[in-house]
């Protein structure tokens, strides 16, 4: 599913980028018969919404027993709604930057155990209840090579890189092992903050005609690494706390549609 999405997005972006420089829309006769992107210099706001293919890697915990191994799980990948809003500044020389709030949604973090380190024969407990919700504050820098070269096309492909902080909320989590004395044990959730980064690419198209207040729409693909989400070791149902709570690394591959509007018109 994720590969299909990514391929489709990249194909669309490539096709659109290849047509950059051509006049995409005829807005009626103008004296000079030319097209140009509008002046977008200055502050802007940007909104985007899309779909995230979320992956949870390295899901594991360390049970209470001193001799217990670290148990890894196969936490399933899933799709999520993704929304973001940002405020930024466009230098109009090929670079713009913004700071935005990102909501990557909540993903189910349950799964059966897959292996242990060191290897110890099972059965071991499965994670039967857990989820991870992520929000992030991220600064992003966008680079538009055509714009930097002075091509005032209404279609501008770009590369983007972002760096920020993610707040990962692990819900209360439950491990289940029918063979154990306590088959079902639950532990409290916890929020943690971790470094987050992102890289991606996209294509931005100005949908308003020259002379009007510019509105720009973009299609983008971005990979986000939101860092680690970790639950609490506090038992909700009594008993010994685990030596390490359930924790997972979260990453999202996002395809989104965005709208960018300059706040000031010169």
């Amino acid at each position: 599913m994720r590969a299909t999405w990514t391929s489709a997005a990249l194909a669309a972006m490539t096709a659109t980028s290849l047509s950059a420089g051509e006049t995409p829309v005829d807005y009626g006769r103008t004296l000079f018969g030319r097209s140009s992107e509008s002046v977008t210099f200055g502050p802007y706001v940007r909104f985007e919404a899309g779909r995230a293919a979320t992956g949870l890697d390295d899901a594991n915990w360390v049970p209470p027993g001193a001799g217990d191994p670290r148990v890894f799980f196969s936490a399933g990948d899933d799709d999520n709604a993704f929304v973001a809003a940002a405020i930024g500044f466009d230098w109009m020389n090929g670079f713009r930057g913004d700071v935005g709030l990102v909501s990557a949604g909540e993903i189910d973090a349950t799964g059966p155990w897959s292996y242990t380190a060191p290897a110890v024969p099972g059965p071991h407990a499965d994670i039967t209840a857990a989820s991870v919700r992520t929000t992030a504050l991220m600064g992003s820098v966008y680079y538009s090579p055509l714009e930097q070269r002075g091509v005032n096309s209404r279609i501008q492909p770009y590369l983007v890189a972002g760096l920020g902080f993610a707040r990962n909320q692990m819900s209360d989590w439950t491990r289940t092992n029918a063979a154990a004395p306590d088959p079902v044990r639950s532990f409290a959730g916890k929020s943690s903050v971790d470094l987050a980064y992102s890289i991606g690419m996209g294509v931005e198209v100005q949908v308003t005609r020259a002379g009007q207040h510019p509105v720009l729409v973009d299609l983008s693909w971005r990979y986000y690494d939101f860092g680690n989400a970790e639950g609490s070791t506090t038992p909700l149902t009594g008993g010994q706390p685990p030596r390490e709570a359930l924790n997972v690394d979260r990453n999202d591959s996002v395809i989104s549609l965005g709208v960018r509007v300059p706040l000031k018109r010169y």
């Binding site: 030319r34 992107e37 230098w91 670079f95 980064y197 018109r265």
Partner: protein, 264 residues
Amino acid sequence: MTSEGLVPRWRHLSIVIVGAAAFAFVPGGPFHPAFGGAAYAQHTGGSHGGGGHDGEEHDDSGHSGGHSGHSGGHSGGSGGHSGGHGSGAGTGGHGQGAGAGRGQPGAGGRPVWAREGILEVELGRLNVVRAPSHVLQRAYDEALASLTPEMADFYSMDLNEMIAALSTNFDNLSYIDSPLQNLALFEDALDGSSVLTSTGEISNTNGNLLAAFLGVASDKNIPITADSVTAVTTILGAPVTGSAAAALAADADAIRIAVKTGHG
């Protein structure tokens, strides 16, 4: 997070940080030393696309300066006001050549107007003339891309007709309103010839067009004076001074007042 997971993650993070820094500091990037104030100095007149002026013309010594014989119907005219802006004094106009053009860096890489200083004058909306050259270039391109046949009617009026139309028929007029676009067209016309007349669909004197561009670009409540004309044209690298500045200021201010009257 396990130590096994940490290593590739920090490796990825390092790549992103180094990549972002490289983006930001490459020549032309937002944090490259040449960007910002010095960006004003990058402008060399450039080619403004088809029909645009060539910056090299600005640099020729002994530019004949100005253009004589404006045939505009407005009293006073403004013939020859653009003066010479080559390295020698203009010979045909009232203006005085004042050295290198807008984009040529002076001592220490600063633009000429920053080195020599400009008059202390309230510019209001005209302050956008200080925008980096690539922004002014985009505004120029946008102005040409948005110029419709209806606008051609306006730009073909003589000054008195423009003033009357703006004062009494403002809502039905079609013209370029953006201060930055008007100043980009103003800069283009400072060499004595406006790109607007190159299509053959607009017939007007350069003086009328200069006054229209400057008057529309101006803040509606700040009078345009000879000093403000000199300041703006100095920033653009083609100073207009003396009686030429006064004549252009009078015409542009009449446009400004007409816009204010018509707009209410």
